[in-house]
C-alpha cells in the first residue's frame, strides 16, 4: 500500500475513533453508556496540554532555548479568538447557516477563530522572539516570563474582553476539535523534527557556534521554531477558551507556563512521546490528588490538590536528582528501540568512561588484557 493511502486510512480511522469517543461522551452517550462531564473535562484538558507540551518541546527541548511564557501565547490565542467569535462570529454563523446549514457554519466560524488565534500568537512570537533570540544566552527566558505577565495584566484591563469579570465565549469546541488538533500538533512537530530543519534545530541545541559554523543561520531557525511553537500555544488557547465557555486571566498565570515546563521536563526534553506522557501525568495528577481525603495541617484543613505546587516542586527536584534528562530523555517511546538496541563496536568506550587513560593506551590492548586473553 502506498504511504499516502496508509496515511489517509490512518487519518480516517483516527477521526472515526475520536467521533466514537465523542459520541460516548455526549450526554446520552452511545448505546446508553455516556461518560460523565467530569472525565470528559479531564480528557479535553489532557489534549489541550498535549498541544502545549509538544509545541513547547520544539523550542525548549529540540532547539535548546528556554521559553517560560507559553501561557502568554495561549492567552493571546484564547482572547483574540474569543473576541472574534463573540463580536463577529455570531453574525457570520447566522449568515452562513442560511446557505450551508448550521453545523458546517459553526465549523467554518471556529476554523477562522483558530486561524486568528494562531496568527495572533505567531505574530507575538515574532515580536518577542526576534530581539531575544538574536543574542545567545538566556534572554528568551527573561523576556518570555515578562511578556506572559504583561499580556495577562493588559488583558485584565481590556473591558471588551471582560477585564477582571471574565468573558463568556460560545462553546464551539468539542472533543473532535481538540483531539484532532492534538494529533495535528504531534504530526507537524514530528515532521519538523525529522526534517533537515529539525536537524538544524538540534544542532543549535548541541552547539550553537558549531551550528553557525556549518552555515546555519541560527537566529533565523530559532525564531522560526519559536514562532511555530507560539502559534500552537495560541491554538491550544482557542480550543481551551471555546470549550470552557468562560475566560478569565487567572487561567493564564505563571503557574500555567510552569506546568507545561514540568510536563516536558518530566517526559523528556526533546522527546515528543515524552511530552505526551508528561501532559497526561501532570493533568491527571491533581485530579487524583483531589480524590484524596483532606488532611488537618496546623489546625486548618488542606486538600492535597491545593498542595500540587509543592508536589510539582518535589517531583521536579526528584527528576533532576535521579534522571535530569526526563523519563524518556531524547528518546521516543515505541518498540523500535528493541530492534535498534545498539551494539557497540568492539573495544569502543564512550569518552569519560576511562577518564585519565591516554587514548593511545585505551585503543590498544594493554599487556594485562592480552595476558587474560591468552589464559582463556
Amino acid at each position: 500500500m502506498p504511504t499516502f493511502v496508509k496515511r489517509i486510512v490512518g487519518a480516517v480511522v483516527i477521526i472515526l475513533l475520536l467521533y466514537f469517543v465523542y459520541m460516548m461522551m455526549s450526554e446520552e452517550g452511545l448505546f446508553g453508556f455516556g461518560i460523565g462531564a467530569y472525565p470528559a473535562d479531564v480528557l479535553m484538558l489532557i489534549f489541550v496540554n498535549i498541544i502545549l507540551a509538544v509545541s513547547l518541546n520544539l523550542i525548549n527541548g529540540f532547539t535548546g532555548q528556554f521559553s517560560i511564557g507559553h501561557a502568554g501565547f495561549m492567552a493571546i490565542g484564547a482572547y483574540t479568538s474569543a473576541y472574534t467569535t463573540v463580536y463577529h462570529g455570531q453574525h457570520l454563523e447566522r449568515w452562513l447557516a442560511a446557505s450551508i446549514g448550521e453545523t458546517p457554519a459553526i465549523a467554518i466560524v471556529f476554523l477562522i477563530a483558530i486561524l486568528v488565534g494562531a496568527l495572533a500568537a505567531a505574530t507575538m512570537g515574532l515580536i518577542v522572539g526576534i530581539p531575544s533570540l538574536r543574542l545567545r544566552g538566556d534572554y528568551l527566558a527573561i523576556v518570555t516570563l515578562g511578556f506572559a505577565e504583561i499580556i495577562r495584566i493588559v488583558i485584565l484591563n481590556i473591558d471588551v474582553v471582560g477585564g477582571a469579570t471574565g468573558f463568556s465565549v460560545p462553546g464551539y469546541s468539542n472533543f473532535i476539535w481538540v483531539g484532532g488538533f492534538a494529533i495535528i500538533t504531534i504530526i507537524v512537530i514530528r515532521n519538523i523534527v525529522r526534517s533537515d530543519m529539525g536537524r538544524a534545530l538540534i544542532s543549535i541545541r548541541e552547539d550553537e557556534l558549531a551550528s553557525e559554523a556549518m552555515g546555519i543561520n541560527t537566529t533565523r531557525y530559532k525564531v522560526i521554531a519559536f514562532v511555530i511553537s507560539s502559534s500552537f500555544a495560541g491554538v491550544a488557547g482557542v480550543l481551551f477558551a471555546h470549550y470552557k465557555k468562560f475566560l478569565h486571566t487567572n487561567d493564564f498565570q505563571f503557574i500555567r507556563s510552569f506546568e507545561v515546563i514540568i510536563m516536558i521536563v518530566l517526559g523528556g526534553m526533546g522527546s515528543i512521546t515524552g511530552s505526551i506522557l508528561g501532559a497526561i501525568v501532570i493533568t491527571v495528577l491533581p485530579e487524583l490528588l483531589r480524590q484524596l481525603p483532606t488532611i488537618n495541617l496546623f489546625g486548618s484543613t488542606v486538600n492535597f490538590a491545593d498542595l500540587r505546587l509543592v508536589i510539582y516542586a518535589l517531583l521536579l527536584i526528584g527528576i533532576i536528582l535521579t534522571r535530569p534528562q526526563g523519563v524518556l530523555g531524547h528518546h521516543e517511546f515505541g518498540l523500535n528501540w528493541l530492534k535498534r538496541a545498539q551494539k557497540r563496536p568492539e573495544g569502543d568506550e564512550p569518552i569519560g568512561a576511562s577518564k585519565g587513560v591516554p587514548i593511545a593506551e585505551r585503543d590498544a590492548p594493554t599487556a594485562d588484557s592480552a595476558k587474560e586473553a591468552k589464559n582463556q
Binding site: R205, D207, L209, A210, E212, R344, P345, I359, A360, R362
Partner: protein, 234 residues
Amino acid sequence: MLVLENVSVNYGAIEALTSISMRVEKGEVVTLIGANGAGKTTTLRTITGLLEPREGRVTFEGEEIGGKPTHKLVARGISMSPEGRGVFANLTVRENLQMGAYLKKNKREIAKDMERAFTMFPRLKERESQKAGTLSGGEQQMLAIGRALMSRPRLLLLDEPSLGLAPLVVHTIFEAIDEIRSEGTTILLVEQNAHAALKHSDRAYVLETGQIVMEGPSKDLAADPRIKEAYLGE
C-alpha cells in the same frame, strides 16, 4: 587569500588582539602558535565573524569579511573546526557529517564527500551510526575535521586540533592535515603544540598576549633559538 591588516579586537574594555597583521596564500598551510590565552581563538573568532574588529580589516579573496555573519562564511568557502571540537553530541557520526554539508544540495556529492571522510578516518566509518558524544576525544577531533571538510572549503580553519590528545592520535591528526593540504585546501592551523605545527606547515606566526612577535617560514622558526627555548622546550 586571507589577509588581516592591523586588526585589534576587544572583549569589552580588555584588548585581546593588538594590531595584528597576517596573510594566508592559496595552497599554503600557515600556523599560528602561541601559549594559552595568547589570543589564537580570538583571531579565529574574528575571521569567522563571531567577533567584530575594533580596528583594521579582514579580507578573504579581496572581499571584506570582518563582522560579517558567521553562517555566511561557509558559502564563501571558509570552514572551521572549532576549539573544543564542537561535535553535535546527540547526533550520530553520519548526521554530524551531514550537518557539515548543510548548504549542499547535491546528494551524490554529499555521499562522495562522506566516503572521503571515512577513507581519511576509518575510525569514523566504524562508528558511523554511533552518537558523537560517545566517541573518544581523538575520534571527536577526526569528526570535527571531517565535518568541516564536508562543505568543500577552500580555506580550512583548525583551532587546536591536537589539544588533549595522546601522541599517537596527534600523529593521525597531523597526517590528515598533510593529506588535506595535498588535495589543495588552504589551511590556517592554530596550535599550542609548536613542535608538530611547525613541522607540518609552510609559514608560521607567533602570537604573544595579543601581538604577533615573530613570523617566517616554519623551518626557520623551528631553528630559531628563541622559539626553541620558549615553545619547543629545548
